[in-house]
């Protein structure tokens, strides 16, 4: 490119301008919906629903034991926050707000605190019960499902973004995709110990975020 070509470039660009739809949220919600639908369908088909939930739904006592939904609710909140952060950073001038960062920190602190309390009250070995019971499968399901979700997100909406920080955007997108898969997986898994949630549920989300940040620079380069 050289100085004398700039007017020509401007002419070429202005001649080739077509109407474009401003980047909206519809595609983002489509990604979220597709991810949840596919994730839930896979988890319920391949592994089945959590026993308490199956019982509550089959007997029509859906609201009788709200604690059965606590884990799912927590991860729905985490996934919603992650999707919100993806939306906030998708434009060149986009950035995370203090509220968003604070809420994410609060979620992590809450889970760490619960884990600490559980370990203090029940003892280490009791708090870690269940970690050997099919845990690697849970971990991998969430991680691989999250990566597939990231691919779906790329095809549906993410590739239209122009983030100011592609690595951060990649990390947040992968975290969101993995968090959505985690929501689906909570409908099956009946391990509720905080240590389990931390190491088998949250950890794959963080691994996904790390992978996302590494590939984000190439994936979201513009």
């Amino acid at each position: 490119m050289s100085n004398k070509n700039t007017p020509d470039l401007i002419e070429t660009l202005s001649q080739s301008v077509n109407p474009v739809a401003p980047l909206g949220r519809r595609g983002l919600w489509l990604w979220v919906g597709l991810s949840l639908l596919a994730g839930i369908t896979y988890v319920l088909t391949a592994y089945g629903a959590r026993p308490e939930m199956r019982l509550l739904f089959s007997e029509g006592r859906v609201a009788d034991n709200l604690s059965a939904y606590a884990k799912t609710t927590f991860f729905i909140g985490l996934a919603a926050l992650a999707v919100w952060q993806v939306q906030a950073t998708a434009r060149p001038e986009g950035r995370l707000t203090r509220v968003q960062t604070g809420l994410l920190g609060l979620g992590l602190i809450a889970l760490l605190t619960l884990t600490g309390i559980d370990m203090a009250v029940s003892g280490l070995s009791s708090a870690l019960t269940g970690l050997s019971d099919g845990a690697p499968g849970c971990f991998l399901t969430i991680l691989v499902g999250g990566m597939v979700g990231l691919g779906v997100g790329w095809a549906v909406w993410l590739r239209q973004a122009a983030p100011g920080n592609p690595a951060l955007f990649g990390a947040l997108s992968a975290f969101a995709a993995s968090a959505l898969m985690t929501v689906a997986y909570t409908l099956h898994c009946d391990h509720d110990a905080p240590a389990y949630l931390l190491l088998i549920y949250l950890a794959p989300n963080l691994v996904a975020a790390l992978i996302g940040s590494l590939i984000g620079r190439a994936l979201f380069r513009w």
Binding site: T6, P22, A162
Partner: protein, 186 residues
């Protein structure tokens, strides 16, 4: 004479999103001197015209990411900044970042960028440093406190403040892709 016309550019960008060629041509033409000034303030190399062209192409390809309800200047500044950082990483050019700059109100007389945007550039850079180091640099380079004042405020010795500032600025230069050799030669 003012280099920027935020309201007019916003209208022209909205028209460009609707596919109107004439306002778009006017916008790109008006952006050229603005981008030239933006890059010349930050990049001491003869590459600014290349960067202008690269940025204009990015504006074209990513025009759908402009939110028509939002001000135009933060968007174009972010696109230009992104392309500048990309360019610096790729070619290892020297970027001229004046830390004092953010204290001066940057208004219509220069680039039409609100001081908040310049401040944000600095915040983004400083956020890459450990909190203590960023604080010392902010106090000394941004708030222009003397080494002695910074020393008194932070409880560190003057020599330690000097070292922290030196190492911090080195890290910042590294983070925007300036090869070690370039600044060691300065």
């Amino acid at each position: 004479m003012s280099l920027s016309q935020p309201d007019l550019w916003q209208q022209q960008m909205r028209a460009a999103q609707r596919g109107e060629a004439e306002p778009y041509r006017a916008l790109l033409t008006a952006l050229r001197p603005w981008l030239s000034a933006y890059f010349r303030r930050r990049l001491q190399s003869p590459d600014t015209e290349d960067l202008i062209q690269i940025t204009l192409v990015a504006v074209h390809e990513k025009r759908h990411t402009y939110d028509p309800t939002a001000p135009f200047m933060p968007w174009i500044a972010a696109v230009a900044r992104h392309k500048l950082i990309d360019h610096v990483r790729k070619y290892g050019r020297y970027v001229h970042v004046e830390l004092n700059e953010m204290n001066e109100p940057v208004d219509e007389a220069s680039l039409g960028l609100p001081a908040t945007i310049a401040r944000r550039d600095i915040q983004v850079l400083l956020s890459q440093l450990p909190v203590d180091q960023a604080r010392v640099i902010r106090l000394h380079k941004v708030e222009e406190l003397s080494l002695e004042d910074v020393s008194r405020l932070t409880g560190k010795s003057v020599a330690a403040v000097k070292v922290i500032v030196h190492r911090g600025l080195k890290k910042l230069r590294d983070s925007v892709g300036v090869p070690r050799k370039v600044y060691e030669d300065e």
